[in-house]
């Protein structure tokens, strides 16, 4: 059944005259090769690796850049810098020295978060790491009390072995924040978990609320972020965050509150913007808690940026590009957290491709079918986890592995 839908929707994009999905990672003729040692090439690669970790990382899959092999840059319409990268990554948590090869396009906009399209051949890594993740998951499910932790690592770099997976999960979750916040000039690194506590959920997901510290370069500032993470070994991460930027740690009162995604405040049911006065983080935490409780199954919107993955590049290539850009950015700005219900479809008329990048769960509520458009073609970079139908997360869709050349979850999705 889904095969049929897939077939139909596969060709929808083509019939709308949108650029071929397979073009997303190709190299434009106007691109210029740059030395891989160049700082900006390394920065673009690091953004791509953060994206990789956000999408495919887990407590046992934490990727680091092994070597940048080739880098190209292109300036589009004089406002956007696009980097095409070929690089190798290694899983720092894996005992084997397996190296995966990746290709990515990273686009830095002047006023927006980076867009990234990524393709990696991660299959060697997946089975073993999935088993380890599953063990951690089951172990945590068995615990009587929700887990709590402080100052990881401690001042002396010590991480309790029991807290290692929690720390590594924070690292790959923070990769989402870092991916969103990075620019060609500014880079980040997660240095510490100040506090973490687990929220028990009625479904099978694990949920954590973290307060983390990011080290910002080149300003050398320390940025404090609150991060909500939902995770399941078979799913990709869902992360939401809120960062304070404080010029000096001693005086948090002075710090500006970062507008959540440009507008998050009004979107909070019953909360409104006053929630962000003073040190918003605690109130925010509470409100988030309520929201999570209510919204276990359907309200868990995926992280906003996914929608734009890969879409930007093609869009700029055609004459119609400005139109899309304008419309897309407004939507992005006003979106904050919850903007996805029902709105998904209109935004992407004829551009089914973008939908693939969505993670999170809302895609699954009854609209499962649209999700498979184009999956046969280039969805190799998507992890199979998104293929869940309906609201029950355990309902894995069987898949033919050839649809997922190099798919992250190859051979994994049998119920």
């Amino acid at each position: 059944m889904y095969l049929l839908l897939c077939f139909i929707v596969c060709f929808l994009p083509l019939s709308y005259g949108m650029p071929k999905i397979t073009d997303r990672l190709d190299l434009s003729v106007t691109a210029v090769e740059i030395p891989t040692k160049a700082r900006i090439a390394q920065q673009a690669a690091s953004v791509a690796v953060h994206y990789l970790n956000y999408r495919y990382g887990s407590p046992n899959r934490v990727y680091e850049l092994h070597e940048l092999k080739k880098a190209y840059t292109e300036v589009i319409l004089n406002i956007v810098h696009k980097y095409h990268l070929e690089f190798e990554v290694k899983n720092q948590e894996s005992s084997s020295n397996v190296i995966a090869i990746c290709t990515a396009n990273v686009i830095f906009h002047k006023k927006k978060d980076p867009d990234t399209a990524l393709k990696c051949n991660l299959k060697d890594d997946m089975k073993d790491t999935f088993e380890k993740d599953n063990r951690f998951y089951l172990n945590l499910q068995k615990q009587k009390y929700p887990m709590v932790g402080y100052n990881i690592p401690d001042n002396f770099g010590f991480v309790d072995p029991k807290m290692m997976p929690i720390w590594l999960l924070a690292k790959v979750s923070a990769s989402y924040i870092i991916w969103k916040k990075s620019t060609e000039v500014t880079k980040y690194n997660m240095v510490r978990i100040q506090k973490v506590n687990q929220l028990i959920r009625t479904d099978t997901f694990l949920q954590f609320i973290y307060t983390i510290l990011l080290h910002e370069l080149p300003t050398q500032e320390t940025v404090t972020c609150s991060m909500w993470v939902m995770w399941h070994p078979k799913q990709s991460l869902t992360v939401k965050y809120f960062c304070l930027s404080s010029p000096s740690e001693s005086f948090p009162k002075e710090s500006r509150l970062e507008r959540f995604e440009g507008s998050g405040s009004e979107r909070f049911e019953g909360s409104g913007s006053e929630r962000f006065e003073g040190s918003g983080s605690e109130r925010f935490e509470r409100s988030a808690l309520e929201r999570f409780e209510r919204s276990a199954s359907e309200r868990f919107e995926g992280s906003a940026s996914e929608r734009f993955e890969g879409s930007a590049s093609e869009r700029f290539e055609g004459p119609g590009s400005e139109r899309f850009e304008g419309s897309r950015s407004e939507r992005f700005e006003e979106s904050g957290l919850e903007r996805f219900e029902g709105s998904g479809s209109e935004r992407f008329e004829g551009s089914g491709s973008e939908r693939f990048e969505e993670s999170g769960l809302e895609r699954f509520k009854g609209s499962g079918s649209e999700r498979f458009e184009g999956s046969g073609l280039e969805r190799f970079e998507e992890s199979g986890s998104e293929r869940f139908e309906g609201s029950g997360s355990e309902r894995f869709e069987g898949t033919e592995s050839e649809r997922f050349e190099g798919s992250a979850m190859d051979g994994f999705l049998m119920n």
Binding site: K37, D154, F156, G157, N189, P218, T219, S248, F251
Partner: protein, 418 residues
């Protein structure tokens, strides 16, 4: 080094009442020349004297400690005196020491010296000061300690001088200028100790120190270090107070007179890269500047930071390359290759502006402009996994590999002495 263990084993043996050290003396001998050194070595070969060297005759810069059995004390002393070799009696009657409670005192002195110092840990400031004092005391001919100034909060800024002769072209190494970069002073202390043990044993360091002096400022920002240990692990700056601002501290590595206040530093007092109210406003920076300018003959300037595994050379404030850019780049490549040869740790290298970003008022740009042709900044381990909170198990490996790179730089400079 054998000394503390040797003494303890003597104590133990005596306690067993098997051996007696009545009348045994421990002499400290200073050989002033190669000839004298050779003579002392020949003494060692005379087995019938049953001499027990606690510190072997190694070089003219290092003391020689020897336990002499009672019946040979007179012979040995005559031999030394007739050859004009100076010595002092460290212990007049070893047995009495063993008997008395002086033992515990001596043991604790040995235990607290730099031989038993735990290089695998991050220490409190007081322990670091004591260590520095001990290093100088244990190596009086090679190491001297000098206060070159005081921090904002009044803490002394001590420089260790490694020198075997009159004022020579010099090498500067500083660490801990940013409070939170704990690996930096930990590595510097290990390197300082390494210099004292290598001198006389390792040919390249021995010949280097016979041509050049080395100055090490282990704790360039003691106030910041203490604050990072007690209040805020992420503290970077000094602790100076600025009238009119509630924020404390200046980024010492933006306070130097090299495009001061330019891009890559901040004018906001609350910012982590605050350049300060004016050039050299920080006493920590002023002390370094004064010392180096007064000395006037530095050839190498090295500063240790963390993290990100980089070896950087000037400039940070301009794209214009330094005049010997090619030489600096080649030397950086060789140094990072030497570094990687030990544990495979990969470093990138380049000028600050190419590798990180624009930066103004930093120490290597300033020192380079003073005419110090080999100015390098190390960003030590790691790449971000632990960042500033590097586990102490990595201190020694980091120090060992960094030492190889620093040696390469120092040797290159010493081979190009005018």
């Amino acid at each position: 080094m054998r000394t503390p263990w040797l003494f303890l084993s003597i104590v133990f043996a005596t306690a067993q009442s098997q051996v007696t050290f009545v009348g045994h003396q421990v002499l400290r001998i200073h050989a002033n020349s190669e000839e004298q050194l050779a003579l002392v070595k020949s003494l060692e070969r005379m087995e019938h004297l049953k001499l027990d060297f606690w510190k072997e005759p190694v070089s003219t810069a290092l003391p020689i400690d020897v336990r002499v059995p009672r019946k040979h004390v007179h012979t040995v002393k005559s031999f030394l005196e007739s050859n004009g070799i100076t010595y002092s009696v460290m212990i007049k009657n070893l047995q009495s020491l063993v008997d008395e409670e002086h033992v515990s005192m001596l043991i604790s002195e040995l235990r607290n010296g730099t031989y038993s110092f735990n290089y695998r840990a991050y220490h409190r400031l007081k322990e670091i000061y004591t260590w520095g004092k001990n290093l100088a005391a244990e190596n009086p001919r090679l190491v001297g300690r000098r206060r070159i100034g005081r921090s904002s909060q009044g803490r002394p800024l001590h420089v260790l001088k490694f020198s075997t002769g009159r004022k020579r072209p010099a090498i500067w190494i500083d660490s801990a200028i940013h409070g939170r970069e704990w690996i930096s002073p930990a590595v510097a202390m290990w390197i300082a100790k390494k210099i004292t043990t290598d001198y006389g044993n390792d040919p390249s360091i021995t010949s280097l120190l016979n041509k050049m002096d080395i100055f090490m400022l282990i704790m360039a920002n003691p106030d910041g270090y203490v604050y990072s240990r007690t209040k805020n692990r992420m503290w970077r700056k000094t602790m100076s107070k600025k009238p009119g601002s509630h924020c404390i501290g200046v980024d010492a590595n933006r306070n130097f007179d090299a495009n001061f206040g330019g891009n890559g530093s901040s004018k906001a007092p609350c910012a982590e890269s605050y350049c300060g109210p004016h050039v050299h406003s920080e006493p920590e920076v002023k002390a370094i500047v004064n010392f180096i300018q007064k000395h006037g003959n530095f050839m190498v300037f090295i500063t240790l930071h963390s993290y990100l595994q980089r070896l950087l050379y000037p400039y940070g404030y301009t794209q214009v390359p330094p005049e010997n850019a090619e030489e600096l780049a080649t030397l950086a490549r060789e140094a990072t290759e030497d570094l990687a040869s030990l544990y495979g740790t990969r470093y990138t290298y380049g000028s600050i502006i190419q590798t990180i970003s624009e930066s103004s008022g930093n120490s290597i740009d300033w020192s380079y402009n003073q005419g110090i042709k080999y100015a390098y900044a190390f960003e030590l381990r790691d790449e971000g996994q632990y960042g500033f909170m590097l586990p102490p198990s990595q201190i020694i490996p980091t120090a060992e590999e960094t030492w190889l790179a620093i040696k390469k730089i120092m040797e290159h400079a010493s081979n190009r002495l005018p």
